[in-house]
């Protein structure tokens, strides 16, 4: 299984020279099995870059199939949707899978609201030319996606929860824990540890530098060390720091990686836009 990070930034897309190495696009991660089956997690602005590449393949001809897992519907995780060009090609079949937001609205209503005429000239999901299915996930649940085995769990994110994913294929496992904050950083919930158990790669929210975290406790995001605790307890083999703060320049992220690496035997790196990894 291969993974490619298309967007690694949290909250807000950041342009400028200070963000070039790690990238300024908001969250989107692609997984591809050895047999070529593809899965996307989250539809931040990073997805628009993947879209350009997909359009050169079967998606440009209306023969693409793609499941997209959403962690939640905060805008930085869905803002690439109206600009994800495979949606505009008739014949493509795109599944969007995610939990209903905690507000009481359904996932489908939320995405319809995103494309409501005030906000978007697309004026609703029904105007996307591709076949689009919206499928509600109710974590904890196992999802059937061709080529992948997907387990989910709800994890705390400020006053709400998001969906975390454990994705296995080709005998390898990736765990996606973005937009998460534990009540006690030193005691992550058992279900989180189960989701990350022996993962070959743990992708974890690292929005805050450790020293910034105290000011933003309760906002729903983690400091880098939270991912270390999960990785160590769960026996994850590698930790990718993810969902970088919009205020974190390349140099600041370098420092976080250095400091975080110094405190653990687990190999740590910061997810960078455009980078490939053979899991």
């Amino acid at each position: 299984m291969k993974i490619r990070f298309w967007g690694v930034r949290g909250s807000f897309a950041m342009s400028g020279r200070e963000y070039l190495r790690y990238g300024g696009n908001t969250t989107s991660v692609e997984l591809v099995t050895n047999a070529g089956e593809r899965l996307l997690i989250d539809l931040g602005t990073g997805a628009t870059e993947l879209a350009k590449q997909l359009m050169g393949s079967e998606f440009g001809k209306g023969q693409g199939k793609l499941p997209i897992l959403l962690s939640h519907t905060h805008l930085d995780h869905i803002q690439g949707l109206p600009f994800f060009t495979p949606f505009f090609i008739k014949g493509n079949e795109i599944r969007i899978l995610g939990a209903d937001p905690n507000s009481g609205s359904s996932l489908e209503t939320t995405l319809q609201n995103q494309l409501a005429p005030h906000y978007s000239p697309l004026n609703g999901l029904e105007n996307l030319a591709a076949g689009v299915s919206i499928e509600t996930v109710r974590p904890p649940a196992t999802i059937s996606v061709p080529g992948f085995e997907v387990r989910t769990h709800a994890v705390p994110h400020g006053s709400m929860w998001t969906t975390a994913y454990r994705i296995s294929a080709d005998g390898k496992t990736v765990t996606y824990l973005s937009d998460v904050e534990y009540a006690n950083l030193d005691e992550p919930p058992a279900e989180v540890l189960a989701l990350a158990k022996d993962a070959d790669l743990l992708i974890h929210d690292a929005m805050h530098a450790d020293h910034d975290y105290e000011l933003r406790r309760g906002w729903g995001h983690s400091p880098a060390r939270a991912g270390v605790v999960v990785a160590e307890r769960a026996g994850a083999k590698k930790l990718a720091l993810f969902h970088h703060s919009p205020d974190a320049t390349d140099e600041m992220i370098d420092e976080v990686v250095q400091r975080t690496s110094a405190r653990t035997a687990v190999p740590v790196f910061a997810a960078a836009e455009g980078s490939y990894l053979d899991v």
């Binding site: 400028g16 519907t73 709400m160």
Partner: protein, 316 residues
């Protein structure tokens, strides 16, 4: 009066190596009077950096006026990330084109619904008030005299002429030209044939725009598309620099600023566009500048080169 561009991109933010000089953030322009009063036009992602700058400058909570052209995401997405909004005592007046101010409240409130953003608008410490603007109905914001102008864009859009300190500039975005397609309150799959009434409406809209722009010093115009791109997507609601030049020439505008760049246009393409339309403008006596993130322009006088916030931005 001077204006500073905080976001010049259309549709969605495009970070990356290809956009470092012209910028990747979406629509947001700051206007300043000689006295230092501030009016913000559009609240795209550029508004985040503007907010951070205003916080550094502010001495206590301030009142900010925000003029919205319309409420598509690329024109409002910066609002929840405008840091002065989190300072108690701040007042933010939002002026926009809509049929009812309470609807405006719910539309703006809608962008911070729980599903999209962690904090609902009613919990944000700043006090918001909403004002409906109507094309042609002028109003004052301190030293600024504001004239809203109807534009041609899906579900409606409004441009603004701002007069202040004896000079004037206008913000004309987002808009399609006024000949091929008319945008109303419905989704356009492609160009639809124009009725006789449509043609009359478009002509009236164009005439009103020309009247309002007559003699304006600087016009910032939606020039999202190159002509060959426009030909493919005439129903997307955006214009080309050629269409903007035609309007500015007819209205005796001194300077045209290209704005709302397509997300696909790289810095190299923008350099080419800037050079091509600088020359085309010279041919008709109009100074044509291409906006970049961080560009500051004094209104009412020619500049040899626009001021840059840092040496790394702008044309090569």
């Amino acid at each position: 009066m001077q204006i500073t561009f905080w976001g010049v991109r259309g549709s969605y933010p495009v970070p990356g190596a290809a956009t470092v000089r012209y910028g990747g953030q979406t629509s947001c322009v700051e206007a300043r009077s000689a006295k230092g009063e501030c009016v913000i036009v559009d609240a795209g992602t550029g508004m985040r950096a503007l907010g951070n700058k205003l916080m550094r400058e502010a001495n206590g909570p301030q009142k900010y006026n925000v003029l919205l052209s319309h409420v598509h995401w690329d024109h409002i997405q910066g609002l929840p990330f405008f840091s002065p909004a989190y300072v108690p005592g701040t007042r933010i007046a939002i002026h926009a084109l809509l049929t009812a101010a309470d609807e405006l409240n719910s539309v703006i409130g809608g962008i911070t619904r729980h599903e999209f953003f962690p904090m609902p608008l009613e919990s944000v410490p700043a006090a918001f008030d909403f004002h409906q603007v109507e094309p042609g109905v002028e109003f004052d914001l301190g030293s600024f005299h504001v004239t809203p102008i109807a534009l041609n864009h899906p579900f409606g859009s409004v441009g603004y002429r701002l007069d202040c300190d004896g000079s004037s500039w206008a913000y004309v975005a987002d808009t399609a030209p006024f000949d091929q397609v008319i945008h109303k309150q419905h989704f356009l799959k492609g160009p639809e044939p124009l009725s006789a009434d449509d043609k009359v409406s478009l002509e009236a809209m164009r005439d009103a725009l020309l009247r309002r722009l007559e003699g304006v010093d600087t016009v910032v115009y939606d020039t999202h598309f190159l002509p060959e791109e426009y030909a493919k997507f005439p129903h997307y609601g955006h214009s080309t620099p050629d269409q903007a030049l035609e309007i500015c020439a007819e209205a005796n505008v001194r300077r045209l600023v290209l704005y709302h760049h397509a997300p696909s246009h790289s810095d190299e393409q923008m350099d080419q566009i800037a050079a091509r339309y600088l020359a085309k403008g010279e041919a008709v006596g109009i100074e044509v500048l291409t906006s970049f993130e961080g560009m500051t322009l004094p209104i009412g006088r020619k500049v040899d080169a626009p001021e840059r916030t840092n040496p790394g931005v702008g044309p090569a």
